[in-house]
């Protein structure tokens, strides 16, 4: 981080490569749309680059980035129902994007996750993919810890029902 702040492109690339996959996966699991997840992860990194000078090096980069990613993904999920979609897929550039989730188990899980609300999905992803504690999730999402715990519990119950 120090080197990236000083202008080292190689250091920034290292930071990007180290965090991209988890950021993208987290966004994908919250929004369930590969193109949107790519945009969200990309815009989150851009926001991080723009704020690089203000970043406090004593704090870890990951949680800072994940907070941006997950909050943007939640906003996207909330707004999607209100948005009109443009049906132009067949003239789009080949996106070269794999199916959203490959592998039977993760495919089933992704399908079950899609049945949850974006807020619940975010909590599950933060807990089980990014491995934050409920206390850390509460801080990242600016929620009471009790709310995080109840969302986790209800989310897991629902997933279990769907996957039974």
């Amino acid at each position: 981080m120090r080197e990236a702040q000083r202008g080292s492109a190689a250091a920034l690339e290292e930071l990007f490569r180290a965090h991209w996959a988890r950021a993208y996966r987290a966004a994908l699991l919250v929004v369930g749309d590969a193109a949107a997840a790519e945009d969200i992860a990309q815009e989150s990194f851009l926001a991080a680059v723009r704020a690089l000078d203000r970043f406090d090096r004593r704090r870890p980069f990951g949680p800072w980035l994940h907070k941006i990613v997950v909050n943007r993904a939640i906003d996207w999920g909330r707004a999607r129902a209100l948005r009109r979609e443009l049906d132009l897929e067949d003239v789009a550039e080949p996106a070269a994007v794999e199916p959203a989730v490959a592998g039977e188990r993760s495919e089933e899980l992704a399908g079950a996750l899609a049945l949850l609300g974006p807020e619940q999905r975010a909590v599950i992803v933060l807990r089980y993919l990014l491995e934050y504690t409920p206390g850390e999730i509460a801080e990242l999402l600016d929620l009471p810890r009790g709310t995080v715990n109840s969302r986790l519990r209800r989310g897991l119950d629902r997933l279990e029902e769907e996957l039974r």
Partner: protein
């Protein structure tokens, strides 16, 4: 159930990672260049500024230009600052000093840094392109409604109907279209570096191709509605009723309307703009011409080259810029108003991106 294990099996598309890195690496490189430039400016600026002022004041050609400008529309007749617009509405401008909305009373709101901008069809929003980002901004408060990251975003143009809008823009040599709420972004075709133009109240866009054609396409049905030859097209515009499409090329101005093709043989037209009543203003070097509704001809000649043209929403005024005198000139029939010190007020030269109704 091993949730974590399953979640970690979600594949990450390597192409997505590379696309993202291309955008982020480029944004970082620009940030670094800006840092270096900022570090150098304090030393360079005074030297350059003194040299430029001295050159302008003491070189005889420079002196002649300054004097000629003063004699005609002239600095002494120009308002020292923009106190109000001569007609109701809001003027959108953009340049090195940022994107600005100027209200009828002359008050200005800065919507962010350097970029290209255009109004939504009814002036409710502004779309701004800044290097790798397309952003929809609410102009009254400057609130960013959404952003989209794409490499090298250029020439955003907002069209469609009040209920269902679309934004066309260029990125990486392709014409792309996104819905007005920032969703459904797709690439449509390869395109030349020319601003696309929306047919009013429809989801039909005209764009210039790299092979010297102007193509008209319905973005919903994907049907190509027309392909016109127009080598070197550099500006496109639809008439307010959507019946005429104009393409400006270095040598002629093409006008297509209902199967008819007309040519206006006027070389060197820089810009065009339609008034709400269908009159067409053309910017040609130091001249502004207006055609339509039974009239046609020169309405203004400036002492220097003009840049940019826009009509007031009520169609009574035209605004153009005279960069050599750092002025905007408002032409209202026989009335003429000039405002000086534009660069100081807007942090640099700005382009005129549209004048719409509303407050």
């Amino acid at each position: 159930m091993k949730v974590k294990e399953a979640l970690e099996q979600v594949p990450v598309d390597p192409a997505a990672e590379e696309r993202a890195w291309a955008v982020i690496g480029a944004a970082y490189a620009r940030r670094e260049r800006a840092h270096v430039a900022r570090r150098r400016w304090p030393l360079v600026v005074p030297v350059v500024a003194v040299a430029a002022v001295a050159a302008a004041a003491y070189s005889s050609p420079g002196r002649a230009v300054v004097d000629a400008v003063r004699r005609t529309i002239g600095v002494e007749h120009a308002a020292p600052a923009l106190f109000k617009l001569p007609a109701p509405g809001r003027l959108l401008v953009s340049g090195a000093g940022g994107t600005w909305v100027v209200a009828a009373d002359g008050s200005k709101r800065r919507l962010g840094g350097e970029g290209q901008a255009s109004w939504s069809p009814h002036g409710l929003f502004v779309v701004v392109a800044r290097s790798d980002t397309l952003a929809a901004v609410e102009p009254a408060r400057g609130t960013v409604r959404w952003t989209l990251s794409r490499p090298g975003v250029l020439f955003p143009r907002w069209g469609g109907t009040r209920a269902d809008t679309r934004i066309a823009y260029l990125s990486a040599g392709r014409l792309r279209v996104v819905a007005g709420d920032g969703t459904g972004d797709v690439a449509l075709a390869r395109a030349a570096r020319v601003a696309p133009a929306w047919q009013p109240e429809r989801h039909v866009v005209a764009y210039a191709t790299p092979r010297g054609r102007v193509t008209v396409v319905d973005v919903d049905s994907k049907a190509v509605l027309a392909v016109h030859a127009a080598q070197g097209a550099r500006e496109l515009a639809w008439s307010p009723g959507g019946k005429q499409l104009v393409a400006v090329t270095p040598r002629v101005v093409h006008i297509w309307a209902g199967g008819r093709h007309q040519l206006l043989r006027l070389a060197g037209v820089q810009a065009v703009a339609f008034a709400r009543d269908g009159r067409l203003a053309l910017l040609h070097g130091r001249n502004v011409f207006v055609y339509g509704r039974g009239e046609g001809g020169n309405v203004f000649t400036a002492p220097g080259r003009l840049a940019g043209v826009a009509w007031s929403p009520n169609g009574r005024w035209i605004v153009t810029a005279l960069p050599s005198a750092d002025q905007w000139i408002f032409i209202g029939g026989r009335r003429l108003r000039a405002v000086s010190s534009i660069a100081r007020q807007f942090g640099g030269h700005v382009s005129l991106d549209g004048w719409v109704s509303g407050t």
